[in-house]
């Protein structure tokens, strides 16, 4: 739907956002390319084994900004890099570090989408005279007349579905966002990139969290805290079983994620035939509970800091499917309100490794009902 307004496209230098920009520009829309400079990839270089030169395929690396700029030049659209490093550090990196040190396992991409990317893009877009923003996310947004709400739906390519990371979008944001790739599959996107003459049509997808080289959280935490002149908090403690028996010690709770197979670190390694998994991390006592795989299963979860998309509010119980991590196949559950800004989801079948700090996103068919953060 062509409208007579400018669209600001968020361009990361990857195939998806580049193709989104190309599709819009070639359909006759007035398009401006924007890259949010979020993190200086060289900032922690050389500390604790963080590489000096970041590889391509990570946002804000020089190579990716170069690629984004070349795409904009190719399309003949204006292109700007907007410095949001301070805000990113405040709204994403700091909360990420705090969560991790508290023994939870946060998803920086959702933090970023919820608290920075869409908000800042829309703000910047409006400042420069654009009314709408576009991104290369695989998701579909539509206006539903009956409910008078903007809804968010899973995309055509379920393998690339990114709605899990977008549960925090507000009605205002959804109303002003275009997802040009929502109805395309990844191979179709690559083909469109080729047809639009984009040289990066074959560029590999980025898999990593943009500011954490190699996905090594612990190395990042160590390097970041050292740069900030802050000490890594002392969180060594006991490894216990579900019935409270102490089976060993560990060197810090931030080395653990619920569901992780035990076996790294810790002293007085418990012996036994069956492998052990992290069941629970208690940030107060620094106690890490371990147990057998079967003990990882939970029938319920609680989520807070909720955002509703398909409905205005949850007033009674509702049958939904709940996705509890990026690669998780949504599982049937009954959702019900559990006090102010909290819901309880009861699964039909117990789910493995419900992890505090991760998002729980509720689906009704293809539609995102809403979501929140697991507590």
């Amino acid at each position: 739907m062509k409208q007579d307004t400018t669209i600001a496209v968020a361009m990361s230098g990857g195939v998806d956002s580049s193709t989104a920009a190309a599709i819009l520009a070639r359909s006759g829309e007035t398009v401006v390319g924007l890259t949010l400079q979020l993190w200086d990839q060289t900032r922690l270089a050389g500390r604790h084994g963080i590489p000096d030169a970041p590889k391509a395929g990570r946002c804000c690396s020089l190579d990716d900004v170069y690629d984004a700029r070349r795409v904009a030049e190719h399309l003949g659209i204006p292109y700007y890099v907007v410095n949001q490093e301070e805000r990113f550090e405040r709204d994403v990196v700091r909360p990420f570090v705090a969560e991790y040190l508290a023994g939870r396992t946060p998803i920086p991409c959702s933090l970023c989408n919820n608290h920075l990317k869409f908000d800042q893009l829309l703000k910047t877009a409006r400042s420069i005279g654009a009314e709408r923003i576009a991104t290369g996310h695989y998701a579909v947004n539509e206006y539903d007349e009956k409910r008078s709400r903007w809804i968010l739906k899973r995309p055509a390519d379920l393998a690339k579905d990114q709605t899990y990371f977008l549960f925090g979008l507000t009605q205002e944001q959804l109303a002003h966002t275009v997802f040009p790739l929502g109805h395309m599959t990844k191979p179709e996107v690559r083909e469109a990139a080729r047809q639009h003459g984009l040289k990066l049509a074959g560029k590999p997808d980025s898999q990593e969290i943009c500011f954490i080289p190699g996905g090594d959280y612990k190395r990042f935490l160590t390097a970041y805290l050292e740069e900030q002149g802050e000490a890594m908090p002392e969180t060594a403690g006991e490894l216990v079983t579900a019935n409270g028996a102490v089976v060993g010690r560990h060197e810090g709770i931030f080395s653990f994620t619920v569901g992780q197979r035990k076996g790294l670190g810790g002293t007085g390694r418990p012996s036994g035939p069956s492998p052990l998994y992290v069941l629970n991390i208690d940030p107060a006592s620094h106690r890490v509970t371990v147990g057998a795989d079967a003990e990882l299963a939970s029938r319920t979860l609680r989520a807070r800091q909720l955002n509703w998309i398909g409905i205005a509010e949850l007033t009674g119980s509702m049958r939904v499917r709940v996705k509890i991590r990026h690669r998780h196949e949504p599982a049937w559950a009954t959702l019900e309100p559990a006090g102010a800004d909290e819901v309880l989801a009861t699964f039909d079948e117990p789910q493995r490794a419900v992890t505090p700090g991760q998002a729980a996103v509720f689906y009704d068919g293809d539609e995102v009902v809403g979501g929140g953060w697991i507590v």
């Binding site: 400018t6 401006v32 700007y80 907007v82 410095n83």
Partner: protein, 385 residues
């Protein structure tokens, strides 16, 4: 859409006469100025003709003019070419990064480096330089005009201080050249750097005044070009273009062009200052005729730069970092502005060909854009503005 280019301190277009002067030296007169044959001699003649113009411009001997690749090379040559471990080097915190990064580099190699801070109006107090002088002071380097604020620095006073201290004095005149009366004898400097593309000449070429007897080590070694001070085949078309540009610059200093540009700048400045919550950085200091640096309270400078660009007004704010995003100006921060105020400051630098119609367009677009931004995000006040 009408586009008005207000970023002359970043670079300038060639004047048509410069383009014409350079034209024969790409294909017809392509010789190497070091060659013995006639092609070489024609090229040599062109280079020496330009050198003669430069000598008139600097007020020096022709032998004291050295051609190079531009401002960064000139600044680097002065610093790396004179300073050795144990020396003391005095410069200021508002210099171009070509001076600042070179200063950091020699500091790592055992040179004692002092950065003198400006006053709130962007002027360096010569007495601060005097106080920084020690017996082992070998070099003082200061800019003639600041690129961000246009503030003209007291080079003559500093020249006297350098002479008393027995130190060499380098002037980075990249932004001042062509905008103010120029005489290296009056400035009292030993070295002076200029760049062609800031004065309507081509990019990639510049020149340096090197006072006779200054023991400047070459930065680039190889052939015996430029009296063994700078190796590399002469950029003949570039040097010819620089010569023509400098000739035209001397003319515009005398024919009232700068006064006209100053009037336009003052008109734009007054028009923008009529917007509430604005102020001039460098107010009260003598400034180059074409530059004004204005801070806008409660506005995100980066967004304003983009908004103005999309409305046909090209300006700059801060300096570009590695990715092309903007970082707050180190010059404005050195003048005591906080990060937010520095971020919310924009530089308007006019071409000498600017017209009243250009000023009209700027004054139509800027107040509107500022109002739009402020209306969008009143909460920006005190956070990011």
């Amino acid at each position: 859409m009408q586009r008005v280019y207000c970023d002359a301190n970043a670079t300038t277009p060639l004047l048509p006469e410069v383009m014409e002067a350079m034209r024969p030296y790409w294909m017809e007169e392509f010789g190497n100025a070091s060659s013995i044959h006639l092609q070489g001699q024609y090229a040599r003649k062109a280079v020496e003709g330009a050198r003669e113009i430069l000598a008139r411009f600097f007020h020096c001997r022709e032998a004291e003019v050295m051609f190079n690749s531009g401002g960064t090379e000139g600044d680097n040559t002065a610093i790396f070419g004179l300073l050795r471990a144990g020396d003391r080097f005095i410069t200021t915190s508002i210099e171009h990064s070509a001076v600042l990064r070179a200063a950091e580099r020699v500091a790592e190699r055992g040179v004692d480096v002092t950065f003198v801070a400006p006053q709130a109006n962007g002027l360096i107090d010569p007495e601060e330089i005097r106080r920084a002088v020690r017996p082992e002071t070998r070099l003082i380097s200061m800019m003639l005009a600041n690129n961000e604020t246009g503030v003209l620095q007291p080079v003559e006073e500093v020249g006297k201080i350098a002479a008393e201290a027995g130190a060499f004095f380098h002037i980075d005149a990249v932004q001042g050249a062509g905008k103010v009366e120029f005489d290296v004898r009056r400035f009292g400097c030993h070295l002076c750097t200029i760049s062609a593309h800031k004065m309507y000449g081509p990019k990639g070429v510049g020149a340096m005044y090197v006072r006779r007897g200054t023991p400047l080590e070459p930065l680039v070694v190889g052939g015996s070009h430029e009296r063994r001070r700078r190796a590399g085949t002469e950029n003949v078309p570039g040097i010819v273009g620089l010569g023509k540009a400098v000739e035209l610059a001397m003319k515009s200093l005398e024919d009232g062009t700068m006064e006209r540009v100053a009037r336009l700048r003052d008109r734009i400045e007054a028009g923008i200052l009529a917007i509430p919550g604005t102020g001039v950085n460098g107010e009260g200091a003598p400034r180059a005729a074409n530059t004004t640096n204005i801070r806008f309270e409660q506005v995100e400078g980066e967004a304003l730069v983009i908004a103005l660009d999309l409305k046909g007004v090209a300006v700059s704010g801060g300096s570009a970092c590695h990715s092309g995003a903007t970082e707050p100006s180190h010059v404005l921060m050195a003048m005591g502005l906080d990060k937010n105020a520095a971020r919310a400051s924009l530089r308007f630098s006019l071409l000498k060909t600017a017209t009243d119609a250009d000023a009209d367009h700027v004054l139509r677009v800027v107040p509107e854009a500022v109002e739009h931004l402020r209306a969008l995000s009143p909460e920006v006040a005190g956070t990011r503005g």
